[in-house]
Each structure stands twice: as C-alpha cells, then as structure tokens.
Symmetry: C2
C-alpha cells in the first residue's frame, strides 16, 4: 500500500474516489455488471450506521418489518405517477425455474406499493393508526452507469413507511424523520447538510412533497443524501385503504415514506477523504484506533489492549510482518481516526505517539495518558471534521442575482451551490438545466425573497439552491 497509488484528488476527483474505495478495501467490483461487493470495512461502516439509525427509529416509535422483495407488475401499476417514475429502471423476473411466470414481477425499486397492499388488510379503525414501520433491505434500480456507493444497481437502504389518521400527523412525521436524518448526518457523519423541500419537478414519483438532504462533496457537487416524503393520500386512495374514524365515518389515511442508503458512505468518503485516503468520523468508525507496535512491546501492548477494551474503545492491532512505514500508510488509507504508534524506544521514556488522521498531527503522551487523550482527540476530531466541512462548503455557496451572474458562476465554477431567486415556474428550472446542466437542489426556506426571478425576471416567489449533482 503506497500513498502514490491514490490519484491526487485535485487532479482527478473521480479517479481519486474509486482509488479510495478500492485501496481502503471498502468495495470490490464483481462479475455481476452494475453490482458491487461491499468488503468488510465498507460493511462495518454500514453496520455502525444501521446501529445508530435503528436506535433513533425505535426511539421515535417505529417497528421493523420485512416485505416481499418482488412486486407483481399489476401491483406496481396501481399508482400512475409512481409506475411512470420507476418502471423504466426495474429488473424483471420472468421465469421461476423452468416455468415462465404468468405475471412478471420486478425486484422492488422501493416498496410503497407493497406496504400499501399490506396496510389495506391491517388498517380498519382509527385504533390501528398511526402505523410506523421501517424496513432494512436491498432495492434494485437498473442504472446504466454505476459508481460505488453513489449509483449502483443494488442499493442497501432503509425505507420507513407510515400511515396516519390526519394529514397534519403525516406532515409532522415527514419532518420528524427528516430531522432525525439531519441530526444523524451532522452529529455522526460530520456532514453539514443543506436541507429543504424539493421542487415539483424534482420530487419523488407519487409524492406530494419531498424533503431532501443535500451534502456537498469536496469537488462542490451535490449528493442527495436522503429524502422524506409526504404522500397525502394518493396511494391510500389508489389502494382503497380506509379506516373508521372516532366519529364513525370512513376516512382515507395519510402516508409518508423516508429513506437513506449506503450512498451516505460515498458522502463520507467524498466530504472527508484526502490524498492519503479515507478519513472516518470517529462516531461512525467501526474501529476508533489502530495500534501499530514497533519492536518488541508485547507487554505494553497487552496492557493497552485491555485498557482500550475496558473503556469500550474499539480498535485493531497491526502485527503483520511489514515495516512501520507501510502500516502507517495503510492505517491512513483506511481512515482510522487515530493511530497509536507503540514504539520500543518511545516506551523507554514512557511515551506513546498518537496521530490524528484528519490533520496527521502527531501528539506524544505518557503511556498512562493514552486512553484519556484518545477520548479527547476523538471528540475533537469529530467536531473539527464537521466544522472544516462546513467552512469549505460555505466557501462554495454562491449567489446569482441575474442570469449573467448565474452564467458566469455556472461556466467558471465546476462545483458549488448557487442561490437564485425563482418565480416557481418549471420553465426557468428547465432552462438552467438545458443551458448549464445544473439542477435544482431544494428551496431555501429561511431567506426572504426580494427582487426578480434570476432566470425570467418576473417576480420571484422563493429562493432556490441549484447545483451540479451525482
């Protein structure tokens, strides 16, 4: 493992990304076109993500279930907008063994229709509501071009699906889970996300409102990193889901769904990574530290290992027959938040060297101080990573008052988010896409609108983030 194996991220960011994915042993390509193999470190990060999110979902009253993986074509066809959005990108199963199926089935691209089909059976009265379900599973979308974690034919994700007696409750749920995602991504993944409502054009197929979390990658490109949808009762009506309310009348319930995926691992890599490889936020790192023994230090190593265990700090030890330099580089590639260099000579003076992965700063402490200092460092690194990402992101948010300004920004800056005034008309949105290949990210809800639409010059109704995307 040599640092020179990783492309410089300022020279070729796309190549840098795939280099890091491969060299950090996060993924491997497979003989199955469009599908990736998630290797132990990549999967361990996903397990950490699952552990925290699953706890947050359960704390907000959700239960896990498991729906079928297949959707018969007739079931997918029930909600019109939804099928139009997904039918072009599903995988169709047409044979079971040697027999041709009477009705073909797709592998779920998302499970709204499966949940609705179940809800129809289990919702009878207001007492059955709300229903707060979540599912951890794999979905399939038949993408033409794929990229590890970002765009893959198979996606590991969770999808929450809930049903409520009133529109108000469903809207609250949509925002509650949206905020759970925001808290999680900021506090655990150290990702400063831009959050807001999607435009009509960009919302989820079949949804009334879609809220999105938009993370900005190192190159200034946006990564849509999670969405929460309010469906109103479109699906419920299409599926004939009804309940008897307290007033003894039949009503149609209101619905939400919300999901995040292994794409978040891509966001971690492209937000925090550097030319040495992956940099993992301590709170989500499967192993908080790696010990690299130098020379015969077995006694102190055992002592340190028990001390870390007793303090519930997860760690790895690299005792392979390789040079320390090789091991340092590999520890950097794999993103351990702190590396502990346990050297024979240092130990003669009772010293140990800790190295921060985010800054590569070296800190010498006495052997007894390793654990307290490590705990302190892990906290600091987590905070610093978030602040650093936020500062960088803010430096790449621009403002365009006129179409000329927009044109200059769009043609001189490859990445970054641009704030514009918008009249709310889809033609203006389409024009930006046609002229510059830039799409809407989300509405800006906390800025007052003054002046004209940046595109057409008519009265602006809202502020809007636009930006290039993955």
């Amino acid at each position: 493992m040599e640092v020179k194996d990783i492309t410089n991220r300022d020279v070729d960011f796309a190549k840098w990304y795939t280099d890091v994915c491969k060299k950090a042993d996060l993924v491997d390509y497979s003989s199955v076109k469009g599908s990736m193999i998630i290797r132990p470190l990549g999967y361990a990060i996903w397990e950490e993500i699952q552990k925290v999110l699953d706890r947050m979902f359960k704390e907000t009253g959700h239960e896990n279930v498991q729906m079928p993986m297949f959707i018969p074509e007739s079931l997918l066809n029930i909600e019109k907008e939804h099928v139009e959005g997904f039918a072009p990108e599903v995988a169709w199963v047409t044979y079971g063994g040697k027999e041709k199926l009477e009705e073909r089935m797709c592998v779920r691209p998302t499970s709204e229709v499966l949940f609705c089909d179940h809800y129809k059976k289990i919702i009878n009265t207001y007492r059955d509501l709300p229903i707060l379900y979540n599912q951890w599973c794999t979905i399939v979308r038949w993408e033409k071009t794929t990229r590890p974690f970002l765009r893959s034919r198979e996606i590991l994700w969770q999808e929450g699906h809930t049903m409520h007696a009133t529109a108000e409750e469903a809207r609250e749920e949509t925002l509650r889970m949206f905020n759970v995602y925001k808290t999680f991504q900021e506090d655990y993944l150290a990702l400063p996300v831009i959050t807001g409502k999607k435009t009509e054009k960009e919302k989820f197929a079949g949804a009334e409102e879609t809220y999105t979390l938009e993370a900005m990658m190192y190159n200034g490109y946006a990564l849509q990193n999670g969405t929460s949808h309010y469906f109103g009762n479109h699906f419920a009506k299409a599926f004939g889901i009804k309940f008897t309310d307290k007033d003894n009348t039949q009503k149609t319930p209101y619905q939400t769904s919300w999901g995040v995926s292994t794409r978040m691992i891509g966001a971690i890599i492209m937000t925090h990574g550097d030319d040495h490889g992956l940099v993992l936020p301590p709170k989500i790192a499967p192993f908080k530290t790696i010990i690299i023994p130098i020379g015969d230090v077995s006694e102190k190593l055992e002592e340190l290992k028990s001390s870390l265990k007793n303090n519930n700090i997860t760690f790895k030890v690299d005792e392979r027959d390789k040079t320390p330099g090789f091991k340092f580089a590999e520890a950097e590639v794999k993103g351990y938040p702190v590396r502990i260099e346990l050297g024979k000579r240092d130990l003669e003076n009772n010293l140990v060297t800790l190295v921060r992965r985010d800054t590569l700063e070296k800190i010498q402490v006495t052997f007894e101080d390793v654990v307290p200092k490590l705990n302190e460092l892990l906290d600091i690194i987590q905070k610093d990573m978030f602040e650093r990402a936020k500062t960088r992101r803010n430096s790449m948010i621009y403002d365009a008052k006129t179409y000329e300004e927009l044109k200059t920004l769009a043609t001189t800056k490859d990445g970054g988010f641009i704030k514009i005034n918008w009249c709310g008309n889809v033609e203006c949105e389409n024009k930006i896409k046609d002229d510059f290949g830039i799409k809407s990210r989300c509405l800006i809800e906390d800025e007052a609108v003054t002046g004209a639409c940046t595109v057409c010059g008519k009265e602006a109704k809202t502020r809007l983030y636009i930006g290039r995307q993955y």
Copy 2:
C-alpha cells in the same frame, strides 16, 4: 383475540401452525405468491436471533460482507453439481427496464459462486488465508408450495463462507460453526437438536460433507434447522482459486459454508407453542414480559416500568381500552414469557401476580419482589422449556432392528425419529423413502454398530436417524 380462534394442535397441527403465525402477528400473506410479510413481532424475533449469532460469529473471527444479489447464468454454471442442485429452483431476471439482458441472471439461491468469484481476486498468498466471511441477506428459491418460515420463496438467512490453506483447517471451521449453531439453538432457542453428518444422498449440492441440525417438532416431524458444509476444494478448483504457500508452491485452498435462516422461528413455534399460541424462550423473546394494568394503578405502573428499565428487562405495557381477559389471551397468543398482572385490588395488599407463559402457573409476589422473581422465572422458564422439549423428543425416538419393526413404526407412528442400522448403500435409503416416504436425517456417530442393515440385512456400517420432515 380469542383462544378459540386457534385450532387445537392435536386435531390439526398444520392449521394450528398457520393460526399461531397469523394470530400472534408474526406474518401476513401478501399479493406476492409464495412470499410472506414478516410483521413486527416476527421480525423482532429475527433481530434477536441476528444479534446473538452475529456476536458469536464475530467472536470466532468472522467479518460481514455483502455480495451481489444476482448471479449471471454463466457464473452459476461453473460448478456442475451445484448448478444441477439449484438451477431448477431459481428466479430468472431477463429484462432490465425495457431491455432484454444479454445474459439472464438469477436471484441468488445461495452465494458460493459469488464468494468464489471474489476469492479468486483477493487470495494470492498464504498470508491472505484464512478468509472468514459472513453475509446476512435474502435468498430466493422458487418453491411450489410454501409455508410461513418453513418454506418460502424468499428466505432471510446468513451464509458463512470461508477459505483455508489446508483441508484440516477447513474441516475444523466446518465443525466450529456447526457447534456455534448447536450452542445457539440449545441455549437460546431451547431446541434440543439432533446433530450429525448427512448421507451422500442428502448432502448439499457441491459439498463433500454436510453437517445438519435436526430439530423435532411437536408432531414428531423433523425440521432441518441449519447446516454446515465442508467443500474440500471442488469449487476452488472449478474457479481456479490458488495461493502461494510458505514453501513457495501454488496450492488450492479449502472451503466451508454454513447457514441458518428464519426457519428457526418456525422451529420455535412448532417446538414450544401450545393451544394458547406462541411460547417464546425468554432468551430470544424481544420483550421478556408484558404488564397488564387492571384498574387505576398508574403510580405503581410507572414505578415498575423504571424498575424494569433499570434492570434491562425489555417489556410492553397493554393499556388499551379492552378487558383484562382479552389482554391475557392476547399476551398468551403472542408468547411473552411472563405476564405481569398489576391489579388495583392486589396492590392494596402490596401484591402482584406473575403468570408463566410456558406453564400458565400464577405466582403472587410483593411489589418489591417483582423484578428479582421475574429474573428467576425467566431463567427457570428457559431451562424448563429445553428440558420439556428434550423429554418429549426422546419419547418419540424409536429403534428398528428389522424391516418389519421399521414398517410397524413407519405405519403406526406419523412422526418421530427412527434409529436404524445401515449398510451405507443408497438403495436402502431409497427403499425406505419409496416404501414409507421417510428420509434420512443424519448419521448417528456416538452409537456402536452391531448387527445387520435394517433394510437389506447385509452388514451394517453405521447407525442412522430417519424421519419424516418439513
């Protein structure tokens, strides 16, 4: 929920089983033929199973990964015995969106070939071995007739896949994980499993040896509840996997795989359940107890809840507007190991009633004694459930020295395991199947062989369990 909704298990065991699955809200049927919906209680049991097993896998050095869900036909075809075993029962994807695929792909029925395809790339020298991987995922087998948890087109399971430098190490691993399963099923699921090697005829397609765990259900039928396979290097050779050993020569590594699935939930139901519904072993019950308040006991209820929380005892509270009788019955159907009746009148005398689910025995204790008594009961119930199942199982193990004896047993007993002497010849195995519809379960390794083969009368080489199966 009325107990009378559940069929008597001695009258119609199959109907009793589906009644319990449905009434305990473990599963629901879906519009997707052959696939089931796993409802919150069913999935929570699976999560408990995953939590314990995953810890056991990690403690034995295994790492989790995620392979693709699809297998291109040419990849499935590489190992001959394997493809013959699985091709008749796979689901084929032939279209991606509107385009016909150049090569069709099946949804994985198991992932040996996918792991081998990956191993070929990542195994180079002896330093890369052993590779100890596990995967939690869903597999698909196109079954004609399905039954919740027992036989389904979609199966949630884990599959361990490991590679070793020597046959000896691979054999050790096969048995190590076999023993992990045995410990788990006995200690956590309270299932007294019969364990041993499968006959040549019954082993896994492509394996050299298959070890099986055979649980006996209430009706005496066997449920194959997990298997561990030693592959030798068949697959490795077929895939051209090689490593440079310490002596600098090229060698082919040795392989294992092992898996258990949601089928274990079926085994729990059919081993421990009764005419009142599900009975969950305390160690795997997602909620150890349910509190049923009777009258206004809100103060004591809050006290009890914090006390349970502080003692890490998971619980539910049933505060719905229903009669205590209704709630008792539902708590029984859903199998909570202990129900706590928190009644206003009892509390006036500082008393609380605990009810064991396994025996329905009522125990009155003082309010202060609830938690210690509950902890004691949970331990006792776990042990008693295992012992009760073992006693029952042992009472249904028969011995047939002659074909006449075998015939009498096979025709008078619908269930149960029969021990026979066996010459090792597949014709004798086939004859038993043809005459009585009974298959081999596994070899009996701890019994000395004396006398003639129960079927053909030639010299017996081994003792064998046979029995009807799910």
